[in-house]
Symmetry: D2
């Protein structure tokens, strides 16, 4: 932690700050210049909790030096993590493709989609049973019935299955039927849910919040891992900006940024990021080229009739074509697309 | 709903769209121009759920005409709501001031603050028992113990008390001790929590999400009201922007915007909006001048030692001074500050 | 300047950094902790231009301690500036109201508006002769003809007049006819224009860029003042965010933030900030309550026929009513509205 | 244009709107529903300039149907443009790589870089002679002297050369020495400069503004093309968001969005977008995979000593390695990297 004093800070003000630091058993380091004085504090920052130095007299600002996330921090855990899920693993060497409908609408819709995405080369079936929708009057999902269809699809196809969970109750239900839990963007800072997901021990896909910084996202992951669950995969799905030509703005830089800051795998969801199916293909390729560990793509037997997010869903044919086109990009990035 | 066709859309494409609309029992209205054709659809939009017209051939874009929130919409409920809470009400004629510490740290801290804010003229005591914190290693709150102190403070001072809830469990606990529930910014789209708050029948303060649009915020309120609970007050607390000189950017325009779009009362939290106590006073005055129904302000016996949000908390003296300065603004806005 | 080393930085890496600092005639101060080493550098930062320490081996990040703007910085010039313009001054004690049409459309329109805003209590007439418009097909302004009408309006009413300038040529022309130059939001980082405005010696109203930080805005002002022209007034006019219910998001916090960081006066333009005339009144009051030194408000004889920004313009009656309502807010803030 | 009436709009209010439309020689189309009435207007929207229908009584909102840019609009000009510059062309089939230092610092620095980027496969040398810098105290460029070095580098290597221009004067000077003009992000809505660039007839690289929407960007291009100059290439260089782990947020979706909305080529600048050299490689690959027509990359003989943007500049070795890695991505996208 670094404390920057105001240009006109008195000697007493500086002394008050250094005394406070020493009183907590830490050592202050002074750098006195012609314009400003800087006080460096190295050590266990948590000892200063409840000492709001930024409002001490004469203090201009306080700059944090170390990240608050530790267990997901690459600085302390330099090796990239491999997250085992079902019959595969997510991380180095693999390109994991999760595909399926935004919402599970019926047994038929799901089974049909499962066989189609399996044939095209996906290794995960995605599908929403609990749908967080902006309006209470929109379709809210089939809940546990949907989870049962997911399990059936898994048994029929050998695909791993993943479902979003929106409450402790949903985690409990999903744990019986699926291979991996998804925490959605709107719940990225639902800390109660993160703790429950941590306790479940299940692999968790943690989507980035609509306006979460990378640091907040990694702190959210820290909530899960600090409960003893290291099986976390991050998913970039677009952030909120002023631009309206896409539903969100895919922050493709998040892929190399996460690679530098954390050891957790990171995948990309170009469907939610853009909201427009014509943009899904180019951005899927971009994500693989940027080094993503996988993709989450919405596929629907008949997008024009989808109850949720139809405009961004690919048809079976379009998905199969995209998977073919992705193969050489996958090879270039040194990853295998199948398990 | 309005469907705008592409300049080169064929007659068949237009017919396909109008046929689809008619098949749902609705009537399309065609406007054919030299460059583009527009199809207007008036009526019950929900009949078109699962008809993703935007991806029909020849369609350029689809524009929604009506808001998806109905019960909180001023267009259909033109009279401003008055929300009764404890021994007072929030809405026209009143300026409700909620004050207290970010986090309840101890019985002493809370009681001392309660008497101080009461003396200065506040009618609500705020205080967090369940704290959603970015890092799992930050202080997380006293939970039910804190709620008990709140009840005690209410009984000792006659203040109404409000606490944030972060789970169904917390709602159940808080309902026993406090007058009003608060849904925090990070949970504004935690739809499970919104539904539970709706079912509780308790008055709810709904903070705006960190990057929620006004429309998403009103849809979140619609989740609560559609469960039969109309006792909702909105709270603007700053939105996320690129500017870093304040913690968030107070969207002061939200006050007149909400006044135009909804009948619900709206208050302002200048403490969380700025994160800097020197800015709390000017923005509190601005909020009252802009027409807010109230204020939420952080007050702490010793901000330098606060376990959460110390830098934005006012001392007792500063709060009392601010309340004095607010009085004439309050009168100008035609509101009474005390109950 | 503070240099934060990576946790695993070698001693040689640290030495390389301190050697580099010493080679520039500066003194490094080391703070060595269990996790990280911090190197403080105090002194003339400009000596390190061209030494990109952030990419030296073992360096995690570099944090700047002092602002790059000096002459407009309150730290070094603590007294609030008073900017003399025409027959008045902008700054402490005064509330300056600039009113008029977005664009000058005709001699009649301008003269009629000038008399109306004068009667209502404005001290400045605003009006655009050079209009920066998003589309080349929108009305671009009357240019020098418009400037002549401004001068005529000044002579007829005694109002001070202000016009936006968009090029060196426009500055030259405007200097002959008006009292104050306006640099618009889109040109806030048109550094050539800033330098020319600095050289002109004319009072300058510097609008905040559409997505400028407060620091970038003050650096833009530094371009003007560093040419020897201290007569600068800042104007907050809304920033770009994701919210669409207003044209821009008025950053009302900018008023107290500027007050803390700079000695320059700051006014607020609620018309451009919101784009909706129903919101202009509440936000004008909020701006005065927050401590602004003035307001810029769009007024038009017939907003429904305005060639630019009609929807946000007030009628003469609405403006007169607003000015009456503003008076008590003005008194509360210790300012006089007339000269 | 579509006019949406308020639910309670009177028949007279609707009639007033339709009368106004008819008075301008246009035909209104009414769609009357149970809740709202919609009025469609098809035809030459410019006839309604100065009729601000949004503020007519009973009007809820007005929705624009067609884009204001015409000449750069793919709807009216479906074939992708090819922009000839110097000895090459930018557009379909080619991947144009522009490389060089942020700022031209000396003849030696520029010549050395020119030979290095040429050897690695670039076809353009970039280098700034007029530098728009946030602070007036930062290095501002060598101006015309720098342009002369650019010409010399072109003659020595056969590379095409491109320079940013920041004023009409700079356009005049640059036209004598370089093959292509660059309009920087900060000047994207400097409309005077756009018009001058249009009049020059020189090929223009138009960078996206720091917070420009895609539509504003295309309107800026329309300023150039409407002066008779169709030789425009767009450059995505990151937009401003709340995220701070990169200097800007690369909006990779802009590539397919532009491809859909306009016939102009679009290239990507990963150096300015991220500000961090470790991220340049992954994002350069992502840009090619997303379909970009080219890349602009900062290269410097000694990034640690660069006077501008050193931290984001690649060394010669790193650039050569990146060019090698880009080759297979280039082939996959069906483009040739050399001329």
């Amino acid at each position: 932690m670094i404390i920057i004093m105001k240009p006109n800070a008195s000697e007493e003000a500086v002394k008050k700050v250094t005394d406070l630091i020493e009183s907590k058993g830490l050592t202050p380091h002074l750098s006195q210049g012609s314009q400003v004085t800087i006080v460096g504090v190295v050590g266990d920052k948590s000892r200063l909790a409840g000492s709001n130095i930024e409002i001490s007299e004469g203090v201009d600002k306080v700059v944090s030096v170390t990240e608050s996330y530790k267990l997901v921090n690459k600085k302390f855990h330099p090796d990239d993590s491999v997250v085992p899920v079902g019959n595969t693993h997510i991380g180095p060497g693999n390109l994991t493709v999760m595909a399926g409908p935004c919402a599970i609408e019926s047994r038929e819709q799901l089974m049909e989609t499962a066989f189609a995405v399996k044939k095209a080369g996906a290794t995960f079936l995605r599908g929403g049973a609990y749908k967080p929708r902006t309006s209470p009057y929109s379709f809210q999902g089939l809940e546990e019935e949907g989870l049962k269809y997911m399990k059936e699809a898994r048994e029929a196809t050998g695909l791993n299955v993943i479902c979003e969970v929106t409450s402790a109750h949903a985690i409990e239900a999903a744990s019986k039927y699926v291979d991996m839990l998804q925490i959605g963007a709107r719940n990225m800072q639902n800390f109660e849910l993160l703790k429950e997901a941590g306790k479940s021990g299940m692999p968790v896909l943690l989507k980035r919040g609509l306006c979460a910084t990378v640091d907040e996202w990694l702190n959210a992951a820290e909530y899960i891992i600090s409960e003893g669950n290291p099986h976390i995969v991050l998913c970039e799905r677009g952030i909120r900006t002023y631009e309206t030509s896409t539903r969100n703005t895919l922050d493709i830089s998040a892929v190399p940024v996460i690679r530098q800051k954390s050891h957790l795998p990171v995948i990309v969801d170009p469907s939610h990021a853009t909201g427009v199916r014509a943009y899904v293909g180019p951005l899927a390729k971009a994500a693989v080229a940027a080094g993503a560990d996988g993709l989450m793509i919405e596929v629907h037997p008949n997008p024009a009739c989808a109850l949720s997010d139809g405009p961004q869903s690919l048809t079976f044919d379009a998905f199969e074509k995209l998977m073919d086109e992705l193969k050489p990009y996958c090879e270039l990035s040194g990853r295998r697309i199948s398990f």
